[in-house]
């Protein structure tokens, strides 16, 4: 059995090596990503001690289905995105290796403080990567907010420690289960805000617009898919599995999540720059996923999370590429851009439709499942909010897709001659990458059983009561 700590150690080691052998940085990065992706497949589930102390005293890595699934997708996406955008990496290879280590650590750790450390490592790499846009004020903003957020997280964590005397997640969750929830309000809130900065919950996410809005075809998909995915999974780990929320705080946080969903989608509706539309859509999706996690619907949340990050990887790659090569990502200026880039356009379209939750694509499977989940809680306002979000999201995404596919003025038949003259180019590697990703979304939608059974296994382990709409059965259960 391979110790999953290698997933953290190998990229970290390679990061140091890459400083020494600058000429081989990119090779080392690809190697590290490949090794990690390969290693994930061979991992055995279980708990692994670090340093020989047994929990709750020592630090342990927990590799359950949840973590395994997260590792699989995050490492896979990391590899794919690196391969797609090798030309964009430049000096960031070392940073990316550290980031990979940090991300894996986030998903694996079973200790709250250890999580803080990985959070900071990952965040620092994110600050550095965000600076590749040369818009330092946004990186600075991100840095201040990120640091403040993790400070608040640390604050909440230490309050928990002061009350319960433990930092081990499993141990804490046992102790907190019987605790008076009013004791938990402040620490939970602080932890929520701390993670909220990273997972883009509404009033804490002021940095997102500057950072995502200026991202290129490497940083964009990396942030919106890999980082966002890992952070949301961490959020789910903490709030769905460790910290029990009292009714008061739960209601407030649910409202905040729902607010994030609607506000994010509305903001996206009002934008015309593609990356801005997408970043607000990411915010909205985060709100949705957070809401699901807070409701205790781990399995649907994870499904929706994967749908979101797989789609966003495609969308941000194309959007970043547009901005990189044409200098603008305004939808108006780029109308008809897909007329000359059909394959990329098809991948973009599939990702967009999957994000909306259209049938035949994976997003539909996750949408149906999450609705089943929410209804099973006898919650009748939340699905309304979610569906409203879907309507708004569909509107701006379809508007965007139509704009990018069909050039032409109102009142005139759409014709290629109206298409943008901007020198848009999409490298073959990127096209192949996004085609692979969209194919995954398509297969997941056509044969949901295949992916779903793997998912549901972990979903069941996490939460026996979450209903699962099994597409294998005729017409579901």
């Amino acid at each position: 059995m391979i110790n999953p700590v290698l997933l953290i150690a190998i990229p970290l080691l390679l990061a140091f090596v890459s400083i020494l052998y600058k000429g081989y940085r990119n090779n080392l990065l690809v190697f590290g990503a490949l090794v990690n992706a390969g290693l994930v497949l061979t991992l055995g589930k279980g708990e692994y001690l670090i340093g020989g102390f047994k929990p709750p005293f020592g630090i342990n890595l927990v590799l359950d289905d949840y973590a395994f699934l997260g590792l699989l997708v995050i490492n896979g996406l990391f590899l794919l995105i690196t391969l797609m955008s090798l030309d964009k990496i430049g000096e960031n290879a070392t940073v990316l290796l550290v980031a990979l280590a940090g991300l894996n650590g986030l998903l694996l750790t079973g200790d709250l403080f250890n999580l803080f450390v990985f959070l900071e490592i990952t965040a620092i790499t994110a600050y550095i990567l965000s600076a590749s846009s040369r818009q330092y004020q946004h990186s600075f903003n991100y840095l201040v907010l990120g640091t403040l957020g993790s400070g608040l997280y640390l604050f909440g964590l230490i309050l928990l420690y002061a009350v319960f005397g433990s930092l081990n997640m499993a141990d804490l969750s046992l102790k907190m289960a019987t605790a008076d929830t009013s004791q938990l309000v402040i620490p939970s809130l602080l932890i929520f805000i701390g993670l909220g900065v990273e997972v883009k919950i509404l009033p804490f996410n002021g940095w997102v617009r500057g950072v995502y809005g200026n991202s290129d075809s490497l940083v964009g998909p990396l942030f919106s898919a890999v980082y966002a995915g890992a952070m949301l999974l961490v959020f789910g780990r903490i709030f769905a599995q460790v910290i029990p929320l009292g009714a008061y705080l739960k209601t407030l946080l649910l409202l905040l999540g729902a607010l994030t969903l609607i506000a994010g989608e509305l903001a996206a509706l009002s934008k015309t720059r593609i990356r801005e539309i997408l970043l607000y859509s990411s915010i909205g999706q985060s709100g949705l996923i957070v809401t699901l996690f807070l409701s205790g619907l781990v399995f649907p949340a994870v499904m929706q999370l994967f749908n979101n990050i797989l789609s966003k990887a495609v969308l941000f790659t194309v959007a970043g590429q547009m901005a990189d090569t044409t200098g603008t990502d305004d939808a108006e200026a780029l109308q008809g851009a897909f007329a000359r880039h059909k394959l990329a356009g098809v991948a973009f379209t599939i990702a967009g439709l999957s994000l909306i939750g259209m049938p035949l694509f994976y997003g539909f499977v996750s949408k149906i499942n999450l609705l089943f989940g929410v209804f099973s809680l006898d919650n009748y306002w939340l699905p309304g909010v979610i569906l409203l979000g879907t309507v708004i999201e569909g509107t701006y995404l379809i508007r965007l897709l139509v704009k990018l596919w069909m050039p032409g003025e109102e009142g005139l038949v759409s014709h290629e001659s109206h298409a943008t003259k901007a020198p848009l180019e999409i490298q073959r590697a990127r096209v192949m990458g996004i085609v692979v990703l969209s194919a995954v979304l398509l297969v997941g939608g056509l044969m949901p059983g295949m992916i779903q059974n793997n998912l549901s296994e972990s979903g069941r382990l996490l939460d026996e009561t979450t209903p699962v709409y099994l597409f294998d059965l005729k017409g579901g259960q």
Binding site: I124, Y127, I128, Q137, F140, L143, V144, I158
Partner: protein, 114 residues
């Protein structure tokens, strides 16, 4: 009592973050915030009359009250991380100054064309 000092520092730090427009001062505020946090963490582990949790030839009997060593360990880590972020923040501040010629955040602008 010491935890109140910590909380006060945290609040001062947040006040600084809210009001300061100078990048350097923002970083200083952030540091004050972290400092307060660290002080608070230490205070959590503090036990009145407690001794350092090290078994020595003097302190080796079961009647002893130790202070909690864990928060101290945590603070060490936090300080290191804080140092890293401060350094990075200063580096950003320098780059911003080179690009915009000012450290005042009001004068920099959003950089997003809307």
């Amino acid at each position: 009592m010491i935890q109140y000092a910590g909380i006060l520092l945290i609040l001062i730090g947040i006040y600084g973050l809210l009001t300061e427009t100078n990048l350097i001062k923002i970083i200083v505020s952030l540091n004050v915030f972290e400092l307060g946090l660290n002080v608070f963490i230490i205070s959590v582990g503090f036990v009145r009359e407690g001794v350092a949790p090290i078994l020595t030839s003097v302190n080796n009997h079961s009647g002893l009250v130790f202070v909690d060593p864990l928060p101290q360990a945590l603070v060490l880590t936090a300080i290191v991380i804080g140092l890293g972020t401060t350094a990075l923040g200063l580096a950003f501040a320098r780059r911003i100054y080179m690009k915009h010629g000012t450290l005042n955040i009001e004068e920099i602008g959003g950089g997003i064309n809307d």
